[in-house]
């Protein structure tokens, strides 16, 4: 019998043949055995690749996207408002109500370094809150972009521009907020120091 063809070897390696003759030949012929082993090794290697899971999100239709779009804008506004009010509340506590403020920073006497560390802690908390916020927004953005397949190109450009603007404005807002909080906390420390008290 002549040697096995490439097709026959492929059928053998994928176990897609019932041809016992080619099977027997592959067992008895050294050359064909070798060729079969080689492609089996290649196949084994490919199959052994553990790829990351495929990043699929649930499919969204165009109309669903449209309704989501408004919900998303509403959601982002609500989230920004929540953060703003959270920051505002904290800030008000800092400025006005001494007792609550003390509870937040601790009542013992703190030197400058210690105080600086506390301040850094507060800042880090704020930053991670903003980070989380940004990540959640990014997830929403991803969902939307994923669903844009069926939209016209023009519409797609407009939407992504709008998304970018949204993100940018929230970024600016966050930046401003951090900066002003820091300033206010500092001026509060200064005023307390002038009055001879250590917060």
């Amino acid at each position: 019998m002549k040697h096995l063809s490439e097709e026959q070897l492929i059928d053998l390696v994928f176990e897609e043949t019932k041809d016992s003759q080619s099977h027997r030949h592959s067992q008895s012929c050294g050359e064909c055995r070798e060729r079969l082993d080689r492609i089996a090794l290649g196949l084994h290697a490919v199959r052994s690749l553990d790829l990351e899971p495929i990043p699929l999100r649930k499919p969204l239709t165009v109309r669903f996207l449209r309704s989501r779009r408004w919900r998303w804008v509403g959601w982002a506004a609500a989230a920004s408002f929540l953060l703003l009010s959270l920051a505002g509340t904290r800030f008000e506590l800092n400025q006005g109500q001494m007792s609550v403020e003390f509870a937040m920073f601790g009542t013992q006497q703190l030197n400058d370094d210690e105080f600086e560390n506390r301040l850094k802690g507060v800042e880090a908390d704020m930053l991670s809150a903003f980070q989380l916020h940004a990540e959640m927004m990014q997830m929403q953005v991803d969902d939307r972009l994923n669903a844009l397949y069926a939209e016209h190109t023009q519409q797609m450009r407009e939407l992504s521009r709008q998304v970018e603007d949204d993100i940018k404005s929230v970024d600016y807002q966050n930046g401003d907020m951090i900066a002003s909080m820091r300033d206010d906390v500092y001026s509060y420390i200064q005023s307390e120091k002038v009055r001879g008290r250590t917060p």
Binding site: I10, V46, L49, I54
Partner: protein, 194 residues
Amino acid sequence: MESILDTELVQRAQRGDSPAFDELIIRYQKRVSSLVYRYVEDRDCASDLVQDIFLKIYTNIKRFKGDASFSTWLFRIAVNDCIDYKRRLKVRRETSLDAITEKGFDPRDDRQDAQIEMGLLTRIENKRIRSLVDQLDPDQKMILVMKVYEEMTFEDIARVMGAPLSTIKSRLYKALDNLGKDLRRLQFIERTAP
């Protein structure tokens, strides 16, 4: 919608019925995304390509005559897009010297982080196997992905690639044979490395 045949949905979509087109997308999005992702192995590229493919489907659906099934037509567009992408990438990469080190072909690296047991393939790193797969001819790699990962039948692959069954099997043989040879070479290097 689920019970409607592709052909009917295609006819509706050709008349401008967007819910019908949406349904077609929903039906194939997962399989197309999976194929593309397995082929390019990069999230961002895959996502761009899939978007591009569905836009092509959208803009060309009126030209679809129904000579082949819709899924064959769709996968043909997807496959051609992927292979085109890979070819463009290949040309770019081959002109870049950086790519050589990037792909990890420095033999010193090979010795450093792969531990290969005698006669066993198992410890050759994923990264290296992947880079070998990546060097295959784009057609060969596509057939490999369709067969091994997407578990398509040879007949379906032949239809999508627009080539005879024997050609598909022969290309797949060459792909696996090349991989097998390269892996043995790697094993040899590992064994003989000081």
